[in-house]
């Protein structure tokens, strides 16, 4: 970890100005990603601009649906009755993530910006295109058991490790962003993260110094009937080997609308429109679910150690759909 200066701000304006104005500056919310990576020398920020006093707060039902301030904590959002009742997949994705200590610190905005757990990325002694563009990707032929089977490239196959993003991708969430000039824009969560292509160092469309202000999730029947299933190497406190965020609106055995996103298998939270197409209008049966799952991983490009994820992702999705439709 290098020496850095610390600045606490209370307004978005000051915060964005500080980060845009200082070379190497970065925001810090809960710090559970940024400090971790600084200790590993993976990130070396000259200044940390604390945004915890910026009023990006609130967990509320608005005309547009659910609005969550970017600085709300994972635990508060996960346990909020509104979220538990009307958006269970969000609540479950949060409460199955990390540990209680981490969830008490970690913010919603920070969660969406967490970085891959690829072991090569997290150790500066290794080459890694994401950390050091052009240096290579040892994961392709190395330890790739927990890396992505969807959305990868020759340059990078790092998984987006988070859970919340997967739930938000499924439920058509929209992020509100604000830059240093005070200009706000809305970006759908599914367009917020980008696949690595040839530029794995670029993970989102966020511009330098731009803040996530809040997340909005439209209310819907498939949001009320939704769930998150996460499969991992131990019962708790582990990143997903595969996860599924699903929402269903079933009437009389027929699926009216469906939402599907996969986690732990993609280079970004992996919304599967192909799976949703198969589900929509079809009978809510295991056969339908299986077909949808096959469609969801049709483009999978597994490597040596993560081949099992092709089967695991499908089984996870089918199980989630079965449990949800039976509920």
């Amino acid at each position: 970890m290098n020496n850095f200066s610390y600045l606490s701000t209370t307004t978005a304006k000051d915060a964005t100005a500080a980060v845009t104005g200082t070379k190497g500056a970065a925001f810090i919310a809960g710090g559970t990603t940024v400090l971790d990576l600084m200790k590993l020398n993976v990130e070396n920020h000259s200044e940390l601009v604390d945004i915890n006093l910026v009023p990006f707060k609130g967990i509320e039902q608005t005309a547009d649906g659910l609005r969550i301030g970017a600085l709300e904590r994972m635990s508060d959002v996960g346990e909020h009755p509104l979220v538990v009742q009307n958006y269970p997949v969000i609540s479950q994705s949060l409460l199955q993530a990390a540990s209680p200590q981490l969830r008490n610190m970690a913010s919603i905005g920070g969660n969406l910006l967490q970085r891959t757990r690829c072991g090569y990325f997290r150790d500066v002694a290794f080459p890694c295109n994401k950390r050091n563009p052009g240096s290579g990707c040892p994961a392709q032929e190395g330890e790739n058991r927990n890396l992505a089977i969807l959305g990868g490239s020759k340059a990078c196959i790092a998984t987006h490790p988070g859970d919340l993003g997967v739930a938000l991708a499924a439920l058509d969430a929209v992020l509100l962003l604000e830059n240093a000039k005070g200009k706000q824009r809305r970006v759908p969560l599914v367009d917020f993260h980008v696949v690595p292509g040839n530029t794995p160092q670029r993970e989102t469309v966020l511009e330098p110094g731009e803040l996530i202000v809040s997340v909005t999730v439209p209310a819907a029947a498939h949001a009320r009937k939704s769930m998150y299933l996460k499969v991992r190497d131990r019962a708790s406190y582990a990143f997903a080997l595969a996860s599924a965020a699903v929402g269903l609106d079933v009437q009389g055995g027929q699926i009216r609308t469906a939402r599907v996103a996969l986690g732990g298998v993609g280079t970004k939270p992996w919304r599967s429109v192909a799976a949703e197409k198969i589900l929509t209008g079809a009978p809510a049966t295991e056969a339908t679910f299986r077909a949808a799952a096959a469609a969801a991983v049709k483009d999978a490009q597994p490597r040596e150690q993560n081949r099992f994820k092709v089967e695991l992702a499908q089984n996870t999705l089918v199980r989630a759909l079965l449990e949800l439709s039976a509920a």
């Binding site: 970890m1 290098n2 020496n3 590993l40 020398n41 757990r117 072991g119 090569y120 997290r122 150790d123 500066v124 002694a125 290794f126 040892p138 032929e141 190395g142 330890e143 058991r145 499969v231 190497d233 131990r234 019962a235 708790s236 406190y237 582990a238 080997l241 099992f308 089967e311 695991l312 089984n315 996870t316 089918v318 199980r319």
Partner: protein, 776 residues
């Protein structure tokens, strides 16, 4: 004075030994008052931080420390070019032996790089933060060569070592003609088992605080399982007489084998302290912990088993291939347990090693026994299924009435009772003998069991008792408490042997100033130290008895020493308890405030042997020596497997052990639980991944190196069989540190097989290895 077996079994007054006494150090620990080795706020203390190698093989071309040295507060950047020279290094065989080093290589003695994470510089600054920052600024350029990561690499040099485990075990063993017996066996099974790299990962990482009290006198606060072993190593390294090195470890946050030896960072810290002329504290980071204090090596075992159609073993042939370092022939001795667990007339074992660019592996939680038991106990399960026998029945058919590896009788063995009681507690009789048919909704349910065994290792140690006339006592032994309860159980033993309440006794440990105790490793501490304490107390009574029978004012005046017994702090005639007196009265009359005794606890002396091994009747010593001394136990496990998601959950657990005398029901239970959880971790999730091209770990942190969390572990049932072993040591204590883990991974794997019909022989059993299993 004649020995008092009364203490062992017939004491009319129930004592505190065996009782579930709360930890005497528990309060200090939860209040943050217990001082660990990195928590001594010394005047002038400075902070050392290691800079470690980015490459796994090659040479250091240059080191540029100028930027680091310009940082405020930085005192020194030590490299192979400027670190004060040790008197000896383990880089040659003679030095290694003299030091007792676990690894035949000391970093910072040349420009050579042999493994990733090898220290290349040690930065000292006035704060930890400044040292950390400066370490990041040290620029090292390397001439890298392609490393070899493991035995699986075809380029690795393979060989059959004559000796393994630092010369402590044979690379080849043969008993009878196993090949011929195998060829003729009606039933033959061959199975290949692999075990991932495991790291000890104690909660407290390796930590050293080194203070030169004088140019030739060193004090070290060290996170070690043995202050004396560290003292010896440092004195050899530094060319100091042993008494000029003091090592202190008052509390230890776990060790599990990695703190059983003196590793390079310890001596490097002492040398750095010499270099800067101030005390230096160095604490390994979690990441450095993975490349500083050894690990359990990656390994493959092939076990061939020959048996009759009735399931009687005829031959066992075991081969192990594993990775070792460029210098040492280290392999856990897996075959020992395979050679003695069952009555089998022939046995053969071979070890094969492959050199790779890794540090030397070391004893890790039941070294040898843990992976060895995985192989034999899964193969025994296979045999049971093949012959349609119950897994317990196959084990009973091969029950070893004496140690097959030596032909010696056991000093004691309660394995039959362990099976029976374990089966009863678990409800084993409800098990459907068919695999893959028991269900709970979508989940497949499996029952598995396995045998555990662990030797009572040869060891000895001493203790001192100082009894005060005011009714208090201080008892001392230079032992270590790994966090498992040594403070507590020794307080209990001292209290009972002195006839005092436990709160009148203070037990002190963890300092080379105290009488020498063995390393707390290999499960020897409880047995050896408790016996030393007991012997030291006996010594005190002997002295008091002598005083009393010479004292005309004593009711015991002119009594014969052998007629006097101690009861509840009173010296009295065995035949007439009314004739006697309290030790306090006796001491006050003699005008002495305190009296000291010392004692030696020794393996093989046996509680019937008298006060100490030294004075034990030869006949008994000889007899004890003719016995094979082991603990035995049985684990029973229920798993629920989700065949679609690949997840395995342990849902029920029963462990029953016969391990001699149990000193504290509560801490013993906790220890068995802890060891079983280690085993469940090794079975289901623990694995360090080493990149095959860079020979560097890719998951060296506790976020990605998985150990069980609470949610992975069910409520566990633990029982002990009451076992009186007259041969092991004066207290009849076998030790339970490691047996708790032996057989655990097999019990889990056997339960997984029973649930799914799929045999996973490749640890850990992660979801990817279960997938594809459909209920059969």
């Amino acid at each position: 004075m004649e020995h008092e077996p009364a203490f062992f079994e017939t004491s009319p007054t129930p004592g505190v030994v065996g009782k579930p006494l709360n930890r005497v150090d528990g309060r200090d620990k939860v209040m943050g008052k217990a001082k660990y080795s990195a928590e001594y706020p010394l005047p002038g203390l400075t902070y050392g931080v290691l800079k470690t190698s980015d490459i796994a093989k090659g040479r250091i071309q240059s080191i540029n420390a100028s930027a680091a040295l310009k940082e405020p507060g930085v005192l020194a950047v030590f490299t192979h070019l400027n670190l004060p020279k040790p008197a000896k290094t383990p880089n040659d065989a003679e030095g290694k032996k003299a030091i007792g080093a676990p690894m035949g290589f000391l970093p910072l003695t040349s420009d050579a790089i042999h493994y990733a994470g090898q220290p290349v510089a040690l930065v000292v600054a006035d704060t930890f933060e400044r040292a950390t920052q400066a370490a990041a600024l040290v620029r090292v350029s390397y001439a890298a060569e392609a490393p070899i990561a493991a035995y699986t690499d075809k380029r690795a040099q393979r060989f059959n070592p004559e000796k393994i485990q630092d010369g402590k075990a044979d690379g080849y063993t043969r008993r009878g003609d196993a090949q011929a017996a195998m060829a003729a066996a009606p039933v033959q099974l061959t199975a290949v088992y692999t075990h991932a790299i495991n790291h000890h990962n104690p909660m407290e990482p390796g930590a050293t605080t080194a203070i030169w009290e004088a140019p030739d006198r060193l004090t070290v606060y060290e996170s070690t399982q043995g202050v004396t072993r560290t003292q010896k190593s440092l004195s050899a390294y530094l060319g100091l007489p042993q008494d000029q090195v003091r090592v202190v470890t008052k509390y230890l946050g776990g060790g599990f084998g990695c703190k059983g030896s003196c590793w390079p960072h310890t001596v490097l810290t002492a040398l750095a302290a010499k270099g800067v002329g101030r005390p230096v504290k160095l604490v390994l980071s979690r990441k450095q912990q993975f490349t500083s204090m050894g690990h359990r090596e990656d390994q493959t075992q092939t076990l061939r088993l020959g048996a009759t159609k009735e399931g009687k073993l005829l031959a066992l042939i075991h081969e192990k291939t594993s990775t070792t370092s460029p210098w040492d022939n280290y392999a856990e001795a897996n075959s020992k347990i395979i050679n003695l667990l069952y009555d089998c007339p022939t046995f053969e074992s071979h070890y094969e090693l492959a050199r790779a660019n890794v540090m030397t592996s070391t004893f890790t939680r039941a070294p040898g026994e843990a992976p060895g038991s995985f192989a034999i106990e899964c193969s025994m399960d296979d045999l049971a299924y093949q012959l349609g026998l119950d897994p317990i029945e196959i084990r009973l058919r091969n029950y070893a009435e004496k140690d097959p590896s030596t032909g010696q009788p056991w000093s004691s063995k309660s394995l039959r009772q362990c099976y029976a009681r374990g089966a009863e507690l678990f409800g084993w009789s409800k098990r459907n003998p068919k695999a893959g048919v028991t269900k709970n909704g979508r989940l497949l349910v499996g029952y598995g069991m396995a045998t555990a065994s662990y030797p009572v290792h040869n060891s000895q140690g001493t203790a001192r008792v100082r009894l005060y006339a005011d009714g208090h006592a201080v008892v001392q032994a230079g032992a270590t408490d790994l966090g498992t309860g040594t403070y507590t159980v020794m307080t209990q033993v001292a209290a009972d042997s002195l006839g005092l309440a436990p709160d009148k006794v203070r037990f002190e440990l963890g300092d080379t100033k105290l009488p020498t105790a063995p390393n707390s490793g290999g499960s020897v501490a409880a047995g050896t130290v408790s016996s030393s304490v007991y012997m030291a107390a006996q010594d005190v009574w002997e002295r008091l008895t002598k005083m009393a029978i010479k004292d005309p004012k004593s009711p015991l005046f002119k009594a014969k020493a052998e007629d006097v017994a101690m009861e509840n702090g009173r010296l009295q005639l065995k035949k007439d308890a009314s004739k006697g007196e309290d030790f306090k009265a006796l001491m006050k009359r003699a005008g002495i405030d305190d009296i000291e005794g010392s004692g030696q606890g020794k393996y093989g002396s046996g509680y019937e042997a008298g006060q100490s091994a030294a004075t034990a009747p030869d006949a008994h010593k000889d007899e004890a020596g003719k016995h094979s001394m082991h603990s035995f136990g049985a684990h029973f496990c229920e798993v629920q497997v989700d065949p679609d998601l690949g997840t395995v959950r342990v849902t029920r657990w029963v462990s029953v052990h016969g391990a001699g005398r149990i000193l504290n029901a509560k801490t013993a239970r906790s220890q068995i639980i802890g060891g079983s959880i280690f085993g469940i971790g090794a079975a289901l999730m623990e694995a360090t991944a080493r990149d095959p091209h860079y020979a560097r770990y890719t998951n060296a942190d506790l976020g990605d190196y998985h150990i069980p969390v609470n949610a992975d572990i069910p409520d566990m049932t633990v029982e002990f069989i009451d076992e009186h072993d007259p041969y092991i040591n004066a207290m009849g204590v076998k030790g339970i540190g490691e047996i708790s883990m032996v057989g655990v991974s097999a019990a889990v794997a056997n339960a997984v097989f029973h649930a799914t019909g799929k045999r996973v022989r490749d640890l850990p059993i992660t979801p990817d290895k279960i997938l594809g299993t459909k209920s059969v």
